[in-house]
Symmetry: C2
Subunit: 561 residues, 2 copies
C-alpha cells in the first residue's frame, strides 16, 4: 500500500474547502433522522408521510377522505408503495416541488394544527426511493373539472430542486375498491407511487398497526389497504430470475370503514401570542411589519392585543405608539419585550386546534379494542413557547382472565401515542408521552408499577397532543420533546384518568366482594330457615315469611357494611 501523509492546512487552504451543503445532501447522509434508517421503517415512514398529506388536503378542502394504500413486493427487499386519495388534487406547477424538494410547503409558516408541518416528509420518501432503486417518484393528480397530470420527478440533491423526467396530461381518475369487488372512481384526487428498498414485517411497529391506529383517531376516514407479497419459493436457487420478473398476484383489500360522516372541526390560523415571542423574533417582526405605527403593528401582527392594549404597552415601555415599527432601536425593543411579557393578556385563542374529543376517543377505543371500562379526559388548552396545545387522554381497562385473549395483568399497559391525529410508533422511549405515563404514581389508582417503569395491567392508554406546532425530537416525527408545560398537562390528564380507573377498580373489587357474600346468603339461607322451622315447629308459609325477612335483614346489613 502507498504511504499517504496528510498536508498540513493553513487558514487559506482551509478556506478554499468551505462550501454550501444542500439540505437534500444533508438529509441524504442523515437519512435516519427522517425515519429511513432501515428497510422496515422506511416502508412505514413512506406510508405515514403520504397518508398524513392526503388527510390534511382532504380536510382543508372539506372532503370526507377516502384512501387506498397499496404495497407490492417487486423483488427481494424492494417494494412499490402507492397511496391514492380523493383529495382536491394538486395543480400542475406545484407537483414537482411538493414531491421533490425538501423544506417546501404551505404548513410551516402558519400557526394552525395540521399533520404535516415541515415540508420534508414525502419528498424525503421519494429521495430515499431514488437513492435505493435509482427510480423516480410517479404522481397522478386530478383537480375537479380538469384533466389529470402524470408527472415523474427526482430530486437534484446537490441543489435541492426537482428534476422532471416526464410530464403528460391523462384521463386518470383515482379508483377505490368497493365491497362487491368493483371499484369507484372519484373526479379528483392524487396518487403518489414510489419504488424503494423496503421490507414488510407484521407487529407492533408495522404499517398495519399504523393504519389501525389511524382509523381509531380519524373516524371520518374510509381506508383501504393491501400488501401483495411474492410467493415464498421452495427452491430459491432455481427460478430466481423468473420470480423476480413476475409481480405477485394482488391480494384482497382490507378496509377500515368510515364510522362518522362528519369532518372534524376545521382549525383556524392564528397570529403569534405576545407571551411566546422571543426578543429576536419580536425585533424581526417589527422590522418586517407593514403597519405604519408601532401601536398598529402590535395590534395587527399579534393575537390578543387590542389597540388600547397595544398603546398601553408602548407607553409602559417608554415608547411612542406612533413611532415607525421598522425604526425601533435594540434597547427600545428590549423595553418593549419586557412590557409585553409583563402585561396581563388573554391566553391564545384555541380555534386553531381540532381535538378529537372524549366521545370519539372512547368510540375509537371501543371499536378496535372492545373492553369493560372506558374513561376519557380533554384538558383545557395550554401554551408552550407561545404555541397553543391541548392534551387529551383515554383509557380502556379489560376484565383480564386466562384465555380471554385480552392483555395480561402482568404485562406493561399498552400506550397509544398520537400527535395531531397521527399515530406515533417509533422511538417510544424518548417520547414525552411515555415519560408522563411512567411518572404518574399508578399504585395510588390500583395498578402495580415497578419503579421508574410503565404500570402493569390489562389497560390501554391513549394520549393525544393537538398543537399548532408539535415539538418532535427528530425530523421523523416519532416522539414528542420533553417541554415541561407539555409534560405537566399530560400528567394532569393521566392522573384524572387514574382517579376514574381507581374508582372503577375499587368498585369492581367491592362488587366482587358483595357478590361473594350474596352467594353465601343464597347458599345457607334455605338450610337456616329449614332448621328454624323444625326447632320452632313453623308452618310452611311461616317458614317462607321468616326466610324472606331473614334475607332482607342480612341483605341490609351486607349493603350497609
Amino acid at each position: 500500500m502507498k504511504k499517504r501523509t496528510p498536508a498540513v492546512e493553513t487558514a487559506v487552504t482551509m478556506a478554499a474547502r468551505q462550501r454550501d451543503i444542500s439540505v437534500s445532501e444533508f438529509f441524504l447522509k442523515n437519512r435516519h433522522l427522517l425515519g429511513f434508517d432501515n428497510p422496515r421503517r422506511a416502508l412505514l415512514t413512506t406510508v405515514k408521510e403520504a397518508v398524513d398529506n392526503a388527510l390534511d388536503a382532504c380536510e382543508e378542502a372539506g372532503i370526507l377522505p377516502e384512501l387506498a394504500v397499496d404495497m407490492t413486493e417487486l423483488a427481494d427487499n424492494r417494494f412499490r408503495v402507492s397511496v391514492t386519495d380523493n383529495g382536491p388534487g394538486i395543480v400542475r406547477n406545484q407537483i414537482p416541488r411538493v414531491f421533490a424538494k425538501l423544506l417546501y410547503g404551505s404548513k410551516f409558516h402558519r400557526l394552525r394544527m395540521s399533520r404535516g408541518q415541515q415540508g420534508i416528509g414525502i419528498s424525503a420518501a421519494g429521495m430515499y426511493g431514488q437513492l435505493t432503486t435509482g427510480s423516480a417518484t410517479r404522481i397522478d393528480s386530478r383537480v375537479d373539472g380538469r384533466r389529470a397530470h402524470h408527472i415523474e420527478v427526482q430530486i437534484d440533491t446537490r441543489r435541492n430542486t426537482p428534476a422532471i423526467l416526464k410530464d403528460t396530461e391523462t384521463d386518470w381518475q383515482p379508483l377505490f375498491p368497493k365491497a362487491d369487488g368493483g371499484a369507484l372512481a372519484s373526479g379528483h384526487g392524487t396518487c403518489v407511487s414510489i419504488d424503494m428498498e423496503a421490507s414488510y414485517v407484521r407487529g407492533r411497529l408495522s404499517v398495519d398497526e399504523y393504519l389501525k391506529q389511524c382509523a381509531i383517531v380519524n373516524p371520518h376516514l374510509q381506508l383501504h389497504y393491501r400488501v401483495s407479497l411474492r410467493p415464498k419459493e421452495t427452491a430459491p436457487e432455481v427460478n430466481a430470475d423468473a420470480a423476480e420478473k413476475a409481480p405477485p398476484a394482488p391480494e384482497a383489500w382490507t378496509t377500515f370503514s368510515r364510522a362518522s360522516g362528519e369532518l372534524p372541526k376545521t382549525p383556524l390560523e392564528i397570529k403569534p401570542h405576545p407571551h411566546g415571542v422571543e426578543l429576536g423574533l419580536l425585533m424581526q417582526m417589527l422590522k418586517g411589519s407593514e403597519a405604519r405605527t408601532l401601536k398598529s403593528a402590535l395590534a395587527t401582527d399579534f393575537s390578543r392585543l387590542s389597540p388600547a392594549n397595544a398603546e398601553a404597552i408602548c407607553l409602559q415601555a417608554g415608547l411612542d405608539p406612533k413611532a415607525k415599527p421598522g425604526q425601533i432601536a435594540h434597547h427600545e425593543s428590549e423595553a418593549l419585550y419586557k412590557a409585553l411579557n409583563a402585561a396581563k393578556l388573554m391566553r391564545p385563542q384555541m380555534d386553531c386546534l381540532s381535538p378529537i374529543g372524549e366521545d370519539l376517543m372512547i368510540a375509537g377505543l371501543k371499536k378496535e379494542t372492545p373492553g369493560a371500562f372506558y374513561a376519557a379526559v380533554s384538558r383545557p388548552p395550554a401554551v408552550y413557547r407561545g404555541n397553543p396545545f391541548q392534551i387529551e387522554a383515554a383509557l380502556a381497562c379489560f376484565q383480564s382472565g386466562p384465555g380471554s385473549g385480552e392483555p395480561s395483568a402482568d404485562e406493561p399497559v399498552q400506550v397509544l401515542r398520537f400527535a395531531n391525529r397521527v399515530p406515533l410508533l417509533h422511538q417510544a422511549g424518548g417520547c414525552a408521552i411515555t415519560k408522563a405515563v411512567t411518572s404518574v404514581n399508578w399504585k395510588a389508582y390500583g395498578l402495580s408499577q415497578p419503579r421508574g417503569s410503565l404500570p402493569l395491567g390489562p389497560v390501554v392508554v391513549l394520549v393525544h397532543m393537538a398543537s399548532v406546532w408539535v415539538p418532535f425530537t427528530s425530523e421523523s416525527k416519532d416522539s414528542i420533546a420533553h417541554y415541561p408545560e407539555i409534560l405537566r398537562e399530560m400528567t394532569f390528564a393521566l392522573q384524572e384518568l387514574g382517579r376514574q380507573l381507581g374508582v372503577h377498580l375499587s368498585r369492581r373489587d367491592r362488587l366482587a366482594e358483595q357478590e361473594r357474600k350474596q352467594r353465601y346468603i343464597e347458599l345457607y339461607l334455605p338450610h337456616l330457615a329449614l332448621g328454624l322451622r323444625q326447632i320452632l315447629s313453623l308452618s310452611e308459609p311461616e317458614e317462607t315469611r321468616l326466610r324472606d325477612r331473614l334475607r332482607d335483614m342480612l341483605e341490609r346489613s351486607r349493603t350497609d357494611s
Copy 2:
C-alpha cells in the same frame, strides 16, 4: 369575540400558499433539535460547538491547541460566552458564512474523521443568541503574519445568509492566562463571543463536566475556563437595575494542563468504498464522473478498486469497461451495482481514523479518576453503510468502601460516551453506547445487574466511537444511532473489558481470602508452637525451627488450595 369561520380550500388556493422554507427558519422553530431547548443546555451546546471547531482547526493546521472558555453572567438568565483559540485563524471573507449560515462548512463533503461534520453548530449558537437577546455574534480572528479582523454578524433567517453589522481591521491577539496571573499572546487564533439566554448549573450535564471529559480524551489540549456569576442579592427588589448594569468581577481561571506534547495522528481523507454505496448514489457518481471510461471512473472515484478489479467487475456486469460513465442506463447501473456488491474487495483503509489508543484512554481515566484497576480495548476498524469506524473502550474499577469518596457498589456504573473525541452528555437513554453497556451480561463478570439496566458497581466505563461519519440521532449530536454493526462492535469491546474485569475481581476476591487465611496462621501459629514446646519439652531454638516448618507447611497447603 368575533366568530371566525375558515375558508374551504381548493387545489388553487392551496397552491398559492406553498413556499420555500429556509433551513434557518426550520431550525429556529425546531431549535430543540440543535440542543437549544432550554437555557441550561444552550450554554453547554454553545461551548461544545465552539470548542469542537477550535480543536478541529488546530489539529488540521498542526498546532498544539490552547483554548480559553469564558462565561460571564450579564443579567438574569443572560450570559456572554467567549471561546478563544490559538488556531490558524479564519480568512476574512469566510468569517460571515462560517458563523452566520447554517449548512456551510468544509467537513460535510469529505470522508475523514473530525469533530464537526454538519456545518450547523456554531451558526446555530449565534442564531439562538440573536433570537433570545437580539444581539450579533462577534468574531475576532487573526491569521499568522496578518492584521486581525473584527466582524459582527447576524443571520438573515428568511434567506439563511449572513448580515454583516461591523467589519474592521484591528491589532487583536488571542490571550491565554498564565499560571502566574499574567497572559500569553499568540500570533494567530480566533475568538467567538455570543450573548444569549442561558443558565449555569453544576452537575452531570454541566459545562464543567463537558470540559473535564474533553481533557480526558484530548491530552494534547491546554484548556482554561472560568464562570463569572453576578453576586446573589439579599434584597432582589431594591437594586435590581443597578445590579443588572454592573458586570460581575471575573473569577480566577481553572486550567486543565496539557498532558501530552504530541498531536494525535492526522486522519486522511478517503474515497467511498464500493460496498457502502447505494444504487442511486452510484448512478449519481457515474453521471458526475470526470473519468473517460467506466473502468477508470470506478478505479479513481472509489477506494479499494484497482484498474484490474474495475475491469473484472464491468465484465461481470456485462458492461463495456470503455463505455462512457455518464451514459450508463438504469438497468445497466443495477447490474453494475450487483457486481460491485458481489465482488470480494479489501475493507476500507483506516488511516481516515484517529483513535485515542489504549494507553491514552487509561492515562486519561487515571488522571481524572484515580482508581485501583484499569483495562482498555481498541477494536479493529469496521464498516457501517460504507463508513469506516472504530470502537475503543476502557474501564476503571475502584476499591469501593464507605467514606472512600468513590462511586458506590450499589449505584449504576458511570458511562462516559465519546464520538470523535467529543464528550456526549445529553440523551444518554437513546444512545447506542448506553444500549450496548446495558445489553452485555455483566453478571458473568462479577457485577450485579438489574434486568435491562446498567450494571451496578464502583466502575467507570468509557466508550469512544471514531468514524468518518458518526450517525447521530439528532442535529444536536448527543447520541449515536442504533446501527447494528456499531452496536456489535461496542458489545465485543465491552465483553473483552468485562472478561478482564472478571479476572481482576475474582483475583481480588481470592487475594482477600488468602490474606484472611494468612492472618489466621500468623495469629494462631505462636500459640500452637508454644503448646507443642511444653508438651514435647522442646528447647527454644527447637520451637523456632518447629514454628518455621509448621508455617511453611501451612502456607504450602494454603497456596495449593
